[in-house]
């Protein structure tokens, strides 16, 4: 039987369509259809000036906006050989790690929904809401911040930032612990996720998995550690890895990552120096020399890469984005074949895709 799932299906996490061929309750084959959210971001980038492109990167992975802005800014900075002031680096790291927590909290909420648990969603969204309130105070927007600049950040943190963080962090730790406690080792949740959607480490590497999906298979690979960018080499954090690459391992890795991010935020807050937040070069018209760079960074979903080619004008000549969700999604056929229909939702959920990034 042919079963159509999506594009307007609550469990496809956006506008994503799967055509399933099923035999009874078993999935025989699956055909994913993407492109419903295609906005031509890469082409649009070629028509925008360098400082305007940041707004487009905000809209790629719309749950981890700061991380996207960071990788683009780093690409241009590398091309121009621009040094970023210390304080700006710390601000960036703090915001990026908070955004990672927000993104993983959203994931915890949605995987709970996919597996049939309603309560964790509410708890997770409460935590995410706190982070977004902080983002609004810092950047002026809850989601589309446009706050990072080439060579720093837009403006210094608000005066009461320390106090806000002091209030936020204990509450956030509680939220993370609570969503962990009620969901991760829950009996029903375990039986829905354990040994479901298993992928071997070799297959995962072949499919180009990165991020929590790869680490769930037991491979310790994190761009923050493998090729430290920004100032990530200064922090002490662990890289959680799973054992057998099933849905539950991917979930567990994400939950542990939230604790690690909290650790990084604590350290960064302690070490943060005072000073400038944007280098003086970044305030002028940005016109990098001709050349090309490839920069990668660890997004909540995996490794995002930006290949930027400049021909010396004020607009990029070509900008190619390597989106983590897209590569992780490419394994959907492999994962879904021979699984049950009921599991398809959980498997898709555990890949944690964001369609804004898959379709670009």
């Amino acid at each position: 039987m042919l079963l159509n799932m999506g594009p307007q299906h609550p469990s496809t996490h956006g506008v994503f369509r799967m055509v399933l061929w099923v035999d009874g309750e078993k999935i025989v084959d699956v055909e994913p259809h993407i492109g419903y959210l295609h906005r031509g971001s890469e082409k649009l980038c070629e028509g925008e000036q360098y400082h305007q492109v940041i707004t487009l990167f905000d809209r790629l992975d719309y749950v981890a906006n700061f991380n996207n802005e960071l990788v683009y800014c780093q690409a241009v900075e590398k091309l121009m050989g621009l040094d970023v002031p210390e304080r700006a680096e710390y601000i960036r790291v703090i915001l990026c790690e908070l955004n990672r927590i927000a993104s993983h909290l959203l994931y915890v909420g949605t995987i709970g929904l996919d597996a049939g648990a309603m309560t964790p969603t509410m708890f997770a969204f409460r935590g995410r809401e706190r982070i977004q309130a902080l983002f609004e105070a810092v950047s002026g927007a809850r989601m589309m911040h446009n706050y990072f600049r080439i060579g720093g950040v837009k403006e210094d943190l608000p005066g009461n930032f320390e106090q806000m963080m002091g209030e936020l962090l204990p509450l956030l730790r509680e939220d993370v612990e609570e969503s962990d406690r009620i969901l991760t080792f829950n009996e029903i949740f375990l039986s829905r996720l354990k040994d479901v959607g298993t992928i071997s480490a070799e297959d995962a590497v072949d499919f180009g998995f990165t991020g929590p999906c790869l680490r769930g298979c037991g491979i310790e690979y994190d761009v923050r550690r493998a090729q430290p960018y920004s100032i990530y080499d200064r922090f002490d954090f662990d890289i959680p890895v799973g054992l057998d690459g099933d849905c539950w391992d991917r979930h567990w890795v994400r939950v542990q990552e939230m604790y690690e991010s909290l650790k990084i935020v604590d350290q960064a807050l302690e070490q943060m120096p005072a000073g400038e937040v944007v280098s003086s070069l970044g305030r002028r018209l940005i016109r990098p020399p001709a050349g090309e760079v490839y920069v990668r960074a660890e997004n909540p979903r995996g490794e995002i890469g930006v290949h930027l080619i400049s021909n010396g004008t004020d607009r990029p000549y070509r900008l190619k984005i390597r989106p983590p969700s897209f590569c992780n999604l490419s394994a959907i056929k492999h994962l879904l074949r021979n699984s049950w229909i009921a599991d398809s939702v959980v498997i898709l959920g555990s890949l944690d895709i964001v369609l804004g990034e898959v379709d670009r």
Binding site: T55, E129, E136, I182
Partner: protein, 190 residues
Amino acid sequence: MLNSVKGMMLTLASTFTGLRKPVTRQYPTVPTPVQPRFMGFPALTWDDGVGEPYCTGCMVCIRNCPTQCMSASMMDNPLNEEGKSSRRKIVDYFEINLNRCILCGICVEVCNFDAIVMSHEHEMSTYQRNGDRVDLPALLDIGKKYQVNTAWIPPTVLAKAKKEAEDAAKAAAAAEASSGETAAAGQEAT
């Protein structure tokens, strides 16, 4: 089985010990306050001292807008001819299509005349397709509201005051240092 009971206990425990205050906000009925830096729709500011907009219609913001949602034109300022205003040119016509605006704040950043602000206005849904193409008077209205509500001071004035304060502090420090030196020199001499 045992685990299910444990899970149930956890649920019950959360129900009773967790009698926390609800965090839900009754948003449309009860307005939610926004943060001071909140970026709502862009609006134009009004110079109360002279009685004209700050905007000179220089088009810098229009060239920098990523979505090309604004248009403007400038004219000779009649108040300048009368000698009342220092602005030689003034905005004649200004329109922002707020339906296209992505609230990025780039226009505010590039404006050299403090003429445009990200107001706190964010509830502007209309039933017409072009209902949010707002013109100069409407933009000034939103801007005036913002100026009053937030006791707005032009950013260049703020920056100037800050710089002066810093310079004064530096000068004071330098004066102190030099006076300290002379005092020390005086002591040595005696």
